[in-house]
Each structure stands twice: as structure tokens, then as C-alpha cells.
């Protein structure tokens, strides 16, 4: 599995109704790095991920995935390099059964049903959801849905994994399993979240967004330990850090 670098330069985005969601975002992420995008609701995390996934095209500024600059023409290629896990798994799991859903990407990529089937089996096993393969997605629990959505992204053999609030709606056990999984992946990972404990356990680096701007970009522990920074941007210091540094 190749992991690719990600580079964003001076990226701006305004929605049709005039909302400025991104206002000059820049950063660079090395291959295989796990980076958290943190920030409160409306900070611009999802909008940024949509750009990285080739689902929104930069009008001002640029996005590069490895050697590929994302434009309208290269968007399809960009999407092939990316595995995206959306915030609401119901948006992502639209096929009749889990297996069909995980196969959706590989089949679109032109794989024969047999090869796609092999990918499905491998991806479901990777996330510990092999037993769910013939179930209809709407009958799964929140944690199972998330696992399947992750498998659907993995089945595309992406170089970069993008996850939008992956721990929302999960119970503690589901969240724990997710964290274990994310830690093991060799891909370049970008996780948008305000679950700061997940950040500490999975990511080496945190980019803090507020109102469409990068307000901090630092090693994860350092950023999250900066209490004034966290409070100023609608976040709080994670409990685990408080316990480990009682007087910090």
C-alpha cells in the first residue's frame, strides 16, 4: 500500500449562499502521517475534507494529492486515490447488502465481480465485520455501520484515508475498536473530529481550524495541552491529558 502526501495551499471556499467556509487554508502532510483536523461545529472541517476528496473543486488556492493537482479534470483520479468515511454512515451505505456496498467502489473501478468479491472479503475482515456481509445496512448498529463504511473505503485500496467525525454516535466500546483500527493503518490519515481523546491516541499532529482558518498546527499533545488555545476555539482539553498532567 502506497501512502501519499497531501498539500493544501491558500485554499478558499464560499458556498453558493455566500457562507465563507474556508479562508486561506495551507498545510502539508507527509506520506503515512496521521493528522487530526480539530475545531468546533462549523469550523470548516467537512468542507476541507470534501476538497481533499475531489468532491469540491478549488476555485481559489490548490490541493495536491501526491503528484496530482486536483482540478475538475483530475477529480475522478483524485477520488480513486482517496478513501472517504462520511460523518453519517447512512449517507454512505446505500446498497442493499453490506457486501454489495463494500463492492460498490471496486466495481466502479472496473474490477470483475470475482476480484471485487475478494476485496470485499479482505476489507470486511480487516475491520472485523466479515459476519455482516449479507445484512442490509439499515439494520446495523451505529458501530457496525461505521465499521462497514470504513471497509467500503478500504476496499478501494486508497492511498489516503479521510474520516469525518468517525467516533460520533459510537458507544465507548465501538469507539475503542475504531481507535485500535485507525492506529494500525499504514495510510496517510486525516481525521476531522472534536473527539480529542481519539486525536491523542491516533494522531501525531493536530491542525486546529476556526472559522475557516488554521489557528494552530502542532504535534497533537502540544496543541491539545494548550488550554487557552482549546478554549478559544470551542474545544476543551481532553480528560486523559488532564489525568496524565494533573498540574499542566
Amino acid at each position: 500500500m502506497n501512502a501519499a502526501a497531501v498539500e493544501v495551499r491558500e485554499l478558499w471556499h464560499a458556498y453558493p449562499d455566500g457562507t465563507e467556509a474556508l479562508r486561506g487554508v495551507s498545510f502539508r502532510i507527509a506520506p503515512g502521517e496521521a493528522v487530526a483536523l480539530v475545531g468546533g461545529n462549523g469550523a470548516g472541517k467537512s468542507t476541507l475534507l470534501l476538497h481533499l476528496a475531489g468532491l469540491l473543486i478549488p476555485r481559489r488556492g490548490e490541493v495536491r494529492l501526491g503528484d496530482l493537482r486536483v482540478t475538475r479534470e483530475t477529480a475522478a483520479a483524485a477520488r480513486r486515490a482517496i478513501g472517504m468515511v462520511f460523518q453519517d454512515p447512512d449517507d454512505q451505505l446505500f446498497m442493499p447488502t453490506v457486501a454489495e456496498d463494500v463492492a460498490f467502489g471496486p466495481l466502479n473501478a472496473g474490477l470483475e465481480p470475482d476480484e471485487a468479491e475478494a476485496r470485499v472479503v479482505a476489507a470486511l475482515e480487516r475491520v472485523g465485520a466479515a459476519h455482516l456481509r449479507d445484512r442490509p445496512p439499515y439494520r446495523l448498529s451505529a458501530g457496525e455501520k461505521r465499521a462497514v463504511a470504513l471497509a467500503a473505503a478500504l476496499a478501494m485500496s486508497p492511498e489516503i484515508l479521510l474520516l469525518d467525525e468517525p467516533s460520533s454516535g459510537l458507544d465507548p466500546r465501538g469507539r475503542r475498536r475504531l481507535i485500535e483500527l485507525l492506529r494500525e493503518f499504514p495510510h496517510t490519515r486525516i481525521v476531522a473530529t472534536h473527539d480529542l481523546e481519539l486525536v491523542v491516541e491516533v494522531c501525531s499532529r493536530a491542525i486546529v481550524l476556526d472559522a475557516g482558518r488554521v489557528v494552530a498546527d502542532a504535534p497533537a499533545e502540544e496543541a491539545l495541552n494548550d488550554e487557552p488555545l482549546m478554549l478559544a476555539h470551542a474545544l476543551e482539553r481532553p480528560h486523559i491529558l488532564r489525568h496524565s498532567h494533573p498540574h499542566g
Partner: protein
Amino acid sequence: MESATWPDIGRMDDWARGDSPAHRLDARAKAVATLAFIVVVMSFPRREVSALVPFLLYPVVLTSVSRIPIGEIFRKMLVASPFAVFVGMFNPLLDRQPAAVVGTIVISGGWLSFASILLRFVLTVWAALALVGCTGIYRLVAGLERLGLPRVFAVQLLFLYRYLFVIANEGARMKRGVDARAGGKKALTLRVYGSLIGHLLLRSMDRAERVHRAMLARGYEGRVATLDRSRFRADDGFFVFGCLTAFGVARAWNLSAAIGRLVLGAAA
């Protein structure tokens, strides 16, 4: 379609995920046989009753082989019956011409045709439910697509079905919220209704947008490919052939009457 019935759609998915000889038949074979069944049943003259009875075998066999709970089928039929019953019940009043004599009882044409309407209703509705029950909507639609159903129609039908649950849940949550605040009053004023349903609509449209993105993210280009590799096998051919033959025979000869004569003749 009343609100109380939508959740048990999911039950029919459960039936369809079973495994039985009926489940294993190709969706196209079952669809063709069921359609032929319905056409043949409807082709009988309007006062026919006895010749229709043998046709019960088709839905009975499908239902039993695939172990679909009959009680639930009957419940669905009951819910759906009012229109046919309503229109049919005028027949006994309007057509009083004697049409049959059983012992000393004279039966009017109207009663015969009313009975016939009810029997047709049971046969056709049951057959359709049994078809979906042992096939499932996805395989059924995939089969129909291979028989020429336009892809746009097939794909959005599957989306409709998939998001039925999700959006109905949103609707149910909104309804609970409204009920909690309405203080006993059940129905809303038109204005409030407009904004509630309007909200639901906007949320549905947002949902469609997000679903579309998720599809694009995985390489969607207008075509939904599936893993389904089911083939039309010899068994399916036999099934269709057998059904068509049986329906033809039962259409040409009143089997009930023949059995009746046999029995009565033997008794005489």
C-alpha cells in the same frame, strides 16, 4: 398506505433473506410466472368462482415453500382490501339475475361476481406478496432490469427503498417532537404543517446531496454494478414452463367442477 404499516416492510426483507427452493429460483422466472398467473386469473369471466379456486395452489405453494408467515400476508391483504370490497359489494344489489342453483338455494349473478372479485383479490395480492417475499426487492428489480426495465427507474427505485427507513425515521422523530408539544391536539394547523414537512423536505434534499457525494467518492458514473451473478438455469426454465402449463390447464378446464363431478358421480 397508512403510517402504521411502513415499518413492517423490513419484515419482508427478512423473508427474502431466507433460503429455500423458492428463494433460489431466478427473479425473472418468478416475475414472469407471477405476472402470467395474475393475467390468467383476471381473464376469467366475471361470475367465475369455482374455477378460480385451484389457482390458490400457486401462492400457497410459494408461501409455504419459502416459509413466509401466512398470518402477516393475510394482515396485509386485509389492510389493502377496502377498495375492492367497496366497489364489489354493489354487485349483489345491482345484478339480481339468478345465475346458479345449489340444492334449493338460488344464487344471483351479483353474489357470484362479488365472490369472484374477492377471490381474485386474494389470489392476485397474495401472489404478488409471495413473489416479493421470496425474492426481495433488490433481486426483483435487478431481474426486471435485465428484462428491460429502464436503469434510471431501477436505480432510483432502489434508492427510494433504501431511504424509506431513514427518512421515515426522521419523520417519526419530528412527529414525536410535535406530539410532545401539541398537548393532546393531534393534527397541526396548515402553517405549522407546511414548515414541518418543509423541514423534512429540505433535510431529505440535503440527504440526497450527501448520498450523491458518497457515490461520487467511490467512483460512481451513472451506473450501479452489482455482485449478482445469478443465472437463468434449467430449473428456472422448468419452473416457468410448469407454471404456464398448469395455469393453462386450469384456465381451460374447471378443475374444481371436474373434481366435484368425480366425487358426486362416485357417490351417486
